[in-house]
Subunit: 344 residues, 2 copies
């Protein structure tokens, strides 16, 4: 494995360096070929590195940035005043080739806009999409996009998402002839928004795409499709709904039976069984797959949840690391050339 | 308790009379004051009643209907050709006062359109909304609407949904000064669709509504609000996503450890503990609260999931029965008069 450098927007997200710095150290400890550029306020970052292992510290460099884009800033305004911000500097490091990918837990709209501005979309792609890979109950994987990069999407955008999702499933997840479905509110052709119905017509006539029709929200985890396509608003709400329910279950599982007086051996057995259950459900835990990849750009950008924990932000760093090793943009670009209609 | 008559579209849904007839018998057995009008093909219904208890059978009447509206029919066309269909006849029974509510698992769009046509919206309501009451982890209840009656909703509609949801929470669930939130993709004011941002502005300035801001999908079950408002497309996807995840968990819980060889006492204890967990999670099981109430009409209509099981369809009948006892339309109408702006 060769050396690999990632840029981290250390100031983004609800907890800023308090989460990003320990997650970065965790990533350095797990990946010996990894180098990290932590972009942000040097004082804040340094103070969190006081007890860091010096061998790991040697593979970490602090890149100063003067400002932070607020999570609640209006993207258009934030982008206009982004010069010198930790998010923009991190993206510029990717643009200039000093880093191979960028990870941020900051303002989604600003990240999307800046990434598009600095890293440029691939040929044939109007707007990038946020994508994540979800586990499903068949122990397979489902590519879900868009997760919020485009809150409204016309049929042409949905088709581009479908193509990118299919390429992702085939090239990265090694799923041959991946099934592609549109998320809708019914299986019938007449159901749903016009943009979805129009996208269905185009996909049905695309020989390169193995389009299987509409799926509903309850099929998110059933593994009936390899790629599930929707607009960013729907994708965001769906993913967060799923995460909320999973977390609810896991916390109920943790708290089950607590506080009750029981024979010690019964408590012990209960704990053992609960731990087994938690393990079985663990692969559905949102923290395990935090990080959505911005697909369709000439560079790799991973968006972490704003409220990610250290472990979850670590998962986002790992996702960026994998995307670099898998040469995601190059593979998508190569496949897009054969799949998308020529625009000349 | 006084006698109460409900009309059931016996032919609607994926399984038609195979589900609706046994569910009807179950409802009759549970509610001694209940009378049911089963609307549909008399032959099919009768054949399923062969072994029915005659005392229960005496409180059931078959109302013949010639046709069924297909689940995949285009609503506008289905409504045009709806005369004599089981769904329409069931709604007409409510209109004519022969039944106090109607339950159908049939085509949502057609049910919504026909119900509006026959039962008319309340003053101040442009379009009715599908509403359900979800359990939350604080052992409270959350009113969620719209669930698919209106796939696109402008800000005025969202505000009407908010008002109806608040009335429902206050009058029926006895929640004083219920909190109302809009479902969005972020907490910040700048986030989301224009219709949602516009509705937020109106709600913030409505003294009658205890508007608390935006919530995200992961707050569906957390009990942070008493009423959660969204357009029908989002609501449908969110609810189905939640149901899919809950069902996934419950089935994993059921199958956990099956097929493994274990000491008999360990297996037994495992089963006991799993049953306890299933019981604890049972209140989140979608089958327990199947049935969405169409709010905003001068009559009660409950929409069941198309793929409802007998138990789930039974829950929908019970929901209609409760809505009648609670005089839902009358109470909403009375409150709307004080809350909504006068339209003269």
């Amino acid at each position: 494995m060769t050396r690999l450098t990632l840029a981290i927007d250390a100031m983004g997200g609800d907890f800023g360096p308090c989460v990003t710095v320990p997650a970065a150290m965790q990533a350095l400890a797990s990946h010996s070929q990894l180098h990290l550029l932590l972009v942000g306020d040097p004082d804040k970052i340094t103070s969190l590195l006081a007890k860091a292992d010096s061998a790991l510290r040697a593979r970490l460099q602090i890149i100063p940035a003067e400002s932070v884009i607020a999570s609640d800033a209006k993207p258009s305004q934030a982008i206009r005043h982004s010069r010198g911000s930790s998010m923009r500097v991190a993206l510029e490091l990717v643009k200039e080739g000093q880093a191979q990918a960028c990870i941020s837990a900051g303002n989604t709209g600003a990240l999307m806009g800046l990434a598009k501005l600095l890293l440029k979309p691939l040929n044939g792609i109007e707007r990038p999409a946020l994508m994540t890979v979800l586990p499903n109950v068949q122990r397979g994987k489902t590519v879900l996009l868009d997760l919020g990069a485009n809150i409204e999407s016309d049929s042409a955008l949905l088709v581009q998402f479908a193509v990118m999702g299919a390429v992702m499933a085939e090239e990265v997840l090694n799923i041959g002839h991946p099934r592609v479905a549109l998320l809708n509110i019914g299986h019938e052709e007449t159901k749903g928004l016009q943009s979805i119905r129009d996208a269905a017509v185009i996909l049905r006539e695309s020989p390169e795409i193995n389009y299987i029709g509409y799926l509903e929200g309850n099929d998110l985890l059933t593994g009936k499709t390899d790629v599930l396509v929707c607009d960013g608003f729907i994708g965001n709400v769906t993913l967060k709904t799923m995460e909320g329910v999973v977390k609810t279950f896991l916390s109920l599982l943790q708290s089950q039976g607590e506080g009750k007086k029981r024979a010690w051996w019964l408590s012990l057995l209960g704990r053992v069984l609960k731990r087994r259950l938690a393990k079985q459900f663990g692969h559905l835990n949102p923290d395990q797959y935090n990080g959505a990849c911005l697909l369709g750009l000439r560079g790799i950008v991973v968006k972490s949840h704003g409220n990610a924990s250290q472990h979850a932000f670590f998962a986002a760093i790992e996702q960026a690391e994998q995307a670099v090793r898998q040469q995601l943009p190059e593979r998508i670009a190569a496949r897009l050339e054969t799949v998308l209609p020529k625009s000349d």
